[in-house]
């Protein structure tokens, strides 16, 4: 459980830092009145949906870290662990996912300067390379299967299928949102909305790329 404890410690530090700026030591009963007048729109606030995405990523992070914890504990708890041959496909797939992430990064930049064609191209490239990544993951499954490691052959292969599937499902969820953003772009939605949507997609994609790095490193370790 070390991995998840470490993860929660990081989350806790962020929460603690945020709380430390919330005047938790103040004495609210002595303070009557409204804080300095703020009119709507002047608040440099984060859009709720953006904050929602960050909270969601924290939850997915906990989920993934728990899988990592289980992986490490299972690996060291018994002596039946046999390493699976790392399919070469995974290196290629990692490249695809990086490409996907980079395309969305470009889309986000293009949204910032308001270049609609750029957004469309970026989203399309990102979406297609993500689909290619998923197909590649499927091929990697076939490779591992061909090496004689089925789902129940050894915990190492069980975990391999499990965590790649979990990561893939999260990517598919992202693709649905990405598809919606692409549809909006094609329909010519207001730029402000596109900006936010592409930014959120890009953030989520970078997050899933990081998660993949962690999971890939784990697979190499095992």
């Amino acid at each position: 459980m070390n991995a998840i404890i470490l993860y929660l410690a990081v989350v806790g530090c962020i929460a603690g830092w945020w709380l430390s700026r919330q005047r938790l030591m103040s004495k609210p009963w002595l303070e009557v009145g409204v804080p300095a007048e703020v009119t709507r729109g002047e608040v440099p606030g984060v859009p709720p949906v953006k904050l929602g995405l960050w909270v969601f990523m924290a939850v997915v992070g906990a989920l993934i870290t728990l899988f990592i914890s289980a992986y490490l504990m299972r690996m060291h708890m018994a002596d039946d662990w046999r390493s699976i041959p790392t399919p070469s496909m995974l290196w290629f797939n990692t490249g695809l996912l990086m490409l996907s992430s980079f395309s969305l990064y470009r889309a986000e930049l293009d949204a910032r300067i308001g270049w609609r064609e750029g957004i469309a191209v970026g989203l399309a490239a990102g979406g297609l390379s993500a689909l290619a990544f998923l197909a590649g993951q499927y091929l990697a499954w076939q490779q591992v299967m061909a090496e004689g490691f089925g789902v129940a052959t050894n915990p190492s292969s069980s975990f391999f299928y499990l965590i790649t599937a979990v990561h893939g499902l999260h990517l598919i969820g992202g693709l649905i949102v990405l598809g919606r953003t692409a549809y909006r772009t094609a329909r010519g939605s207001p730029l402000a909305q596109l900006r936010l949507s592409t930014e959120l997609c890009a953030t989520y994609w970078h997050f899933l790329l990081l998660v993949w790095f962690a999971l890939f490193a784990l697979l190499l370790h095992g």
Partner: protein, 586 residues
């Protein structure tokens, strides 16, 4: 309005743009597929109550079997284990968690922080419908081949997926695991809403330190739940794979009934670690909202500010954080590395300190108060009694070596029913008597309420206090019949019968309560907007019950904290949070 002398200048107000409200067009979108947090809250509460009633009936059946073994021979051991499993899981997850977070969270958070609705109403609606689906799947397992799982609510492998356990090789365990996974997905959708709404949709002037403790506690519990439920999700997925695909995450090499199974090397303890990594925070996910709500009940009905508001907030946060590092105190005799015992016993007993501070502050709020013995206050008092009792027996079980003889006995059953069954349920009752007038516009019937209180309080205490002593004798939990055992005197069987009779009586009182809920809807006294003279925002809505969008045209502005009761010099004994200050500046 500028307040030059105000010390709070410079605090960022958390207000954001008004949520774009979804406006329902038909009866279906207004009451069935509603995106209004208030309706969703009520839907959550009604569903949780319905499935909770099933769990209540199951507890009667279990008690009948325990109190009068052999008399009700239609209750076989298999059914008994199915009853305890479903009773436990329903009560902990589908009733308490859903009611506190999905029910009270949805109804109260937007109203108490001055928002028009939750920030993601659509996800909020989905959250409820997925929860309902999870409940239906769970209930369906009663009708599935082999019946529901009888693995105990902890679902420990290997037995939970083997033939020696009801539902282990049938549908029962699969339906249970799928239902839990759906519940978690649904909860996550709701949970994102509660967190982001508290963070981003507070009205002007509602700084964090002005939030009522109800909001603080539901907020913290939600954050904990978002981080803890994934552990249950992970264990469910892996257990399901072990059961369906024959993987060996949790399943070691074993010989079942003379038959060598195909598993190899898995670790049952890994499951226990994952399960309790969720399971212990879960206890506080249920307890914290109860803490918060009861603080507001006590303060309002004792007409006194909550004593030590800041300490209460800090304690909520500290308890929330600490509850993630105490999980293995459920595993002292599980066969884990015994040296973990030192660490987990220490953290467990440390958590008693902030918890005790909360108890002191409730007592000190009563002290020098102006105690109105309304029904919410009565239930709050009953909560303190049962919670302190159950919390103190927790010190037995948390102290590693004392737990050795007591673990897995009826002492444990008595302890957790007192502390996370009875105590939070009393808060739920108190809260319903307190907020029913806001939700429906009418008061609950007082006479029925008092009957409900007295029978529930004294009855529940008489059920669970003596039960500790049955556990001290050494009677284990999860026995459908203790039978003849040298260490169990005959008198203990009489005590068991007594407990069963009390359980039936207390159960009956709940029927009176449900009747009251329905009856008062039409016949209750008109409540008016603020029957308890409370300060918090939900009592200051322009309409009662609050209309769609909560606040009419103008959003409320908050000028003070939530506990301005009996302020010296004030005209009334309460000042609503949105009442502007008097004086030159105001």
């Amino acid at each position: 309005m500028s307040i030059a002398s105000d010390p709070m200048t410079g605090i960022p107000a958390a207000e954001v743009e008004d949520v774009e409200l979804y406006h329902p067009h038909s009866w279906i979108t207004k009451y069935v597929f509603s995106q209004d947090a208030k309706v969703i809250g009520i839907q959550y509460s009604l569903t949780a109550t319905a499935i909770g009633l099933v769990a209540l009936v199951l507890s009667w059946l279990m008690r009948l079997q325990l109190g009068f073994p052999g008399v009700f021979d239609f209750i076989t051991p298999a059914e008994y284990y199915q009853f305890i499993t479903m009773h436990g899981m329903i009560m902990v997850v589908y009733l308490l968690t859903a009611l506190f977070l999905g029910g009270f969270g949805n109804y109260l958070i937007p109203l108490m922080v001055g928002a028009r609705d939750m920030v993601f109403p659509y996800a909020n609606m989905l959250s409820y419908w997925i929860y309902l689906l999870a409940v239906l799947i769970l209930a369906a397992s009663f009708f599935a081949p082999g019946g529901p799982t009888g693995a105990g609510w902890t679902l420990y492998p290997p037995q939970s997926i083997l033939t020696g356990t009801p539902g282990g090789q049938d549908w029962g365990i699969l339906l249970m695991l799928s239902s839990l996974m759906l519940f978690i997905i649904g909860f996550t959708m709701g949970g994102l809403n509660y967190v982001v709404t508290v963070l981003q949709a507070r009205t002007r002037g509602m700084t964090l330190m002005r939030m009522p403790l109800t909001v603080w506690s539901i907020f913290t519990a939600t954050v904990m739940a978002l981080l803890a439920f994934p552990a249950l999700f992970v264990s469910c997925v892996m257990l399901m794979l072990d059961r369906l695909l024959g993987t060996s995450f949790f399943m070691p090499a074993l010989v079942e009934m003379g038959q060598r199974l195909n598993h190899e090397g898995g670790s049952p303890l890994l499951f226990q670690h994952l399960f309790w990594f969720f399971g212990h925070p879960e206890v506080y996910i249920v307890a914290l909202p109860a803490f918060g709500i009861v603080s507001d009940l006590i303060s309002t009905h004792a007409r006194r500010n909550i004593f030590g508001y800041r300490q209460m907030v800090w304690a909520i946060i500290i308890i929330g954080a600490l509850s993630f590092v105490v999980w293995a105190h459920h595993m002292y005799v599980s066969g884990m590395n015994p040296y973990f015992g030192f660490f987990f016993a220490t953290t467990t007993l440390i958590i008693a300190v902030p918890t005790a501070i909360k108890v002191y502050n409730w007592l000190l709020t009563l002290w020098r108060g102006d105690i109105h013995l309304t029904i919410p206050m009565l239930f709050a008092l009953a909560f303190i009694v049962t919670f302190v009792n159950g919390g103190l027996t927790g010190l037995f079980l948390g102290n590693v070596v004392v737990d050795v003889p007591l673990s897995d006995t009826m002492f444990v059953v008595a302890h957790f029913h007192m502390v996370m069954g009875v105590a939070p349920i009393f808060v739920i009752f108190g809260a319903i008597y307190h907020w029913y007038p806001k939700i429906t516009g009418r008061m609950l019937n007082e006479a029925m309420g008092r009957f409900h209180f007295w029978v529930s309080f004294l009855g529940a205490y008489l059920i669970f206090f003596p039960m500790h002593y049955i556990g001290l004798l050494g009677v284990p939990r999860r026995y459908h019949e203790i039978g003849e055992a040298a260490f169990v005197p005959a008198s203990a069987h009489d005590l068991n019968a007594f407990i069963t009779v009390m359980a039936l009586i207390v159960g009956f009182a709940q029927m009176v309560f449900l009747f009251n809920l329905a009856w008062s809807l039409r016949h209750g006294r008109e409540a008016g907007p603020n029957p308890w003279n409370a300060t918090t925002l939900e009592w200051q809505t322009p309409e009662t019950p609050p209309g769609h969008g909560n606040w009419g045209k103008a959003m409320p502005v908050v000028y003070r904290w939530a506990y301005d009761y009996s302020v010296p010099g004030a005209a009334r004994d309460f000042i609503p949070q949105n009442e502007p200050p008097r004086g030159p500046a105001g």
